[in-house]
Amino acid sequence: MGKEMLTGNGAAAWGVRMAEVDYIPAYPITPQTEIIETIAKWISDGAMDASFVTMDSEHSMVTAAGAASATGVRTFTATSSQGLLYGFEMIYTVAGWRVPLVMVNVSRGLSSPITLGPDHNDILAIRDSGFLQIHCETCQEVFDSILMAYKLAEDERVLLPVIVNMDGFYLSFTREPVEIPDVETVRSFLPEYQPEHAFFKPAQPMAQGVAVLGGEFYSYFKYQMHLASKNALEVYKEVCGDFEQKFGRKYRTIEEYMLEDAEYVLVMTNSFSTLGKAAVKRARENGLKAGLLRLRVLRPFPDPDIKNALKGKRAVAVIDQNISIGKGGIIYSEMAGCLYNEINRPLLLSFIGGLGGKNISPEEFELIFDKMIKAEDTGIVEAPHLLYTENEWKEMAGLKEIAGKG
């Protein structure tokens, strides 16, 4: 098929089409709608052979998706932000059913105040659910990750649902060239789903999702999910190997950008990583040994790869595009947990940036590098810092005045 100019949403829809998904229960929410609209149109035109149903809420949508997956068909659905939270109960439930559902979340800041721009509090809210999480930087990656997600989810050593994340607007509505492979190659990478553990057949009745009473039994089921998720790290490597062989693009759990000899490292996720890479490049031009580590797989958390990549670094700054109110950055805490027992662990700095899609300017990146150097000099690491410029503060003041809060 070659390359096409596609938005992130368009790439997601193509991923679903090429994965030959059977069933898509849907519910609209900005900025995810283009995905389901595109799929609905293809089905209506006869270009895609699948069933599509518009549900009455995200709660119902996730339920129908999980139930179809539990019946044995390849299923996809997508949501964002408030919708993910509305379906939150079923996210945990469906993960517990151990069904290989694949979802896309188009990240968007959470209410209240209600907003449209992207940040990652939505996707990170479900990080403990059992869904595996793949976070994307480019539209190509969205397409590729959907194919990889099914292969990962349907592997017998895993059998957990996967959610693929992309930023609203900055990826969902942004067009860039995306390579769409031919369907035969995709089929050779991702064969038809053959359920052996979850289905409904009259000859082999099965009671699924049953209550488990007693902590000793409940612990077993929950911990098995954790072990399956940990297995996914190995399986993911196999999937990546296979993917590279078939399609030529190479993925890892993390992406290392100018990291090998770097001393000062940014840790980022999703589309703003591109801004981080540009900042690293500028810093290098100014003689600073900068690098960037992008977390692509957030669940399972790739501890070994991170530890290995950050060995011997002087300072690491985690830019969290999310905020755990009363604590700070969510990924910062996870990184700290990952590195704490390392002998040569770097200093770890925390920054909150890009909330609700707020831009991160070159000056803000410079401040981060300055703070890393200062921390290294003094040995003192400051409290989590919100990236915010004076101009933004002035603009905010103007708004407050109009709102009568002046």
């Binding site: 149903v53 009455d56 339920t63 129908a64 997956s69 699924q208």
Partner: protein
Amino acid sequence: MDTIPIRSIREIPPEENMLSGTPACAGCGGLLTLRHCLKALGEKIVIVNAASCFTLLSIYPFTPFKNSWLYTAMACAPAGAQGVRDALDILIKKGKLDPEEDLKVVVLTGDGSAYDMGLSSTSGAIYRNLDFYYICYDNEAYGNTGFQQSGATPFASRTATSPPGGARPTGAQLQKKDLFEIWNSHRPPYLATISPAYPVDLVNKFRKAEQYKGPKLFISHSSCPPGWGFDPSHSVSLAKLAVETGIWPLKESVHGKVEHTFVPKKFKPVEDYLKEQERFAHLFKPVRQEDILKSIQETVNEYWRKHKLLS
């Protein structure tokens, strides 16, 4: 499924599709309802269950059913049914499932889900003309959590959250929602009320429903010994009294047209039904709350007058 109507309890299918040993309370009217529904539906079904007392029918590693089952959550069993039905249709279309081996999809919920939390999901499923059965066993409160007021709780009932007290001697102050009419306004192909005390009527309604593709919905007035406060042995007689007093009309609706399937020749006074239950005991002692009793009787009379079955 056989579609010829039966005439007596002797003709109820003998096969037990739900076995004994469930954790349901002794004398559970909901369980008796379900037993007959499953006899009518046969083995080739998948039950999609909402959070309710009946969540606990299947507790790992036990299940009473010979058929499949999927537990969802409180609000979304009809959405689960949508996913299962659609997936079965896909499997049939792709030749992966023999149409002869198709399963009927059956939603099972209590009134808390049906009347309150799951209403949106149910409305959606009926609107989408989903081909499924829906059984609501209505014991008129949140029974599984200890009998708190739900949208199905009748006026003046004591519940754990509507306790009659000195300042509020009535009990529940609100009228029971009319779920039958709420559902009926969607014009499903088949909708009926049933009672565990009228198994012949129940089985025949399922047999009649069989011919329709789309939503086939059933609400059962399900006597609840611990919640309503009566001896378990009275479970059937009380369910029967609800019908004989006119409190629980047995009726059906085909594409929106309502017919009563049983009209008592002479209605018993509602008091006969109320006085048998602890949840209404405060209406009789320490002082008789005459106005409330009258108003309950009047509501029932009004219903039957509206349907021109009482002059």
